[in-house]
Amino acid sequence: MRIRLNGKENTLAPGSTVADALALLGAPESGVAVAVDGDVVPRSQWHTALRDGAVVEVLTAVQGG
């Protein structure tokens, strides 16, 4: 299936989860958060499957004023 991950198209195996998307980015254990289709997905829900065409944003902290 296809998702949009941080603005880029990606193909994942059917049934892939939020965690799989994070793995694709090599996201660390901590310091990141995920929004799927505009809603925050808490860490406790990262095992949930993504829908085909999901828009996934993975954010972390960077320098900022």
Partner: protein, 254 residues
């Protein structure tokens, strides 16, 4: 000055200078500046994680044991800001947020309506909201009434280094504040920071005045000293201004 702690949302800070991490091109320079500033809390922005894996700023701040204050920089609407705050809480495990909702890129001034709207939503969700606001005493009061744990009026627009353009407004905000007033944005040099404290602000938040100075570490030390000096002067009670001179030596007899 253990007797002069800054208290925000029940948390005590020994330092009244809050230095942000923005504008520094180099983590080791940033580290030296943060240490020199004595800051106990610093701002970070939330951005997309790169495949290469982030900036390392979090590791640095954990090592320095500096509290994180995620901001919502770049957000243009209440909705964007609220989502960003929720993601920050999830990612960083803090419910403190520096709330920014700017109206345009030219001035980076807050949008009063969206800002207040976002503040109300986030307060209702249990966030400790520190809003970056303009110097309008009315908006400052609305934000305070909305349950923000501090108000952070600007001295002048972000990155301009124009200092405190309107001390009268800052004095009006302070005169009616029931939460800490933190002068945020516009500081260009040490005397600006000292003036902010003399006007009655409880703290100063700045970033590029230090990180974009020719010598960030030294400027961080300058700001730290200036904030302390301004605070002490406010508490010490300055002499009145006079039109005519007033001698400091006894009259001469011969």
């Amino acid at each position: 000055m253990s007797e002069d702690q800054l208290v925000i949302a029940g948390r005590e800070f020994g330092s009244r200078l809050i230095m942000g991490t923005g504008g520094s091109g180099n983590l080791s320079v940033l580290e030296r500046a943060l240490v020199a500033s004595g800051t106990e809390m610093t701002t970070v922005a939330m951005r997309r994680m790169d495949a290469d894996g982030g900036t390392g700023v979090l590791e640095l701040l954990r090592r320095l044991n500096i509290q994180l204050l995620p901001n919502t920089a770049g957000c243009r609407s209440a909705a964007e800001a609220v989502l960003t705050a929720r993601l920050a809480r999830e990612a960083l495990g803090t419910d403190w947020v520096k709330l920014e909702v700017v109206a345009d890129e030219d001035t980076l001034l807050p949008d009063p309506h969206e800002l207040l709207d976002a503040a109300e939503t986030l307060v209702a969700e249990g966030f400790s909201v520190l809003p970056y606001t303009n110097d309008d005493p009315v908006l400052a009061r609305r934000l305070q009434d909305a349950g923000c744990v501090a108000v952070m009026p600007l001295g002048s627009p972000i990155g301009t280094g124009l200092g405190i353009r309107n001390p009268h407004n800052i004095e009006l905000i302070v005169a009616r504040a029931s939460v800490p007033v933190i002068l945020d944005a516009g500081i260009g040099t040490a005397s600006d920071a000292a003036l902010a404290m003399e006007l009655g602000c409880d703290a100063v938040l700045l970033a590029t005045a230090v990180t974009r100075a020719h010598q960030p570490e030294r400027m961080a030390a300058a700001m730290r000293a200036a904030v302390e000096g301004g605070r002490l002067a406010r508490r010490a009670g300055r002499i009145p201004r006079r039109f005519w001179a007033h001698a400091s030596s006894p009259a001469r007899e011969c």
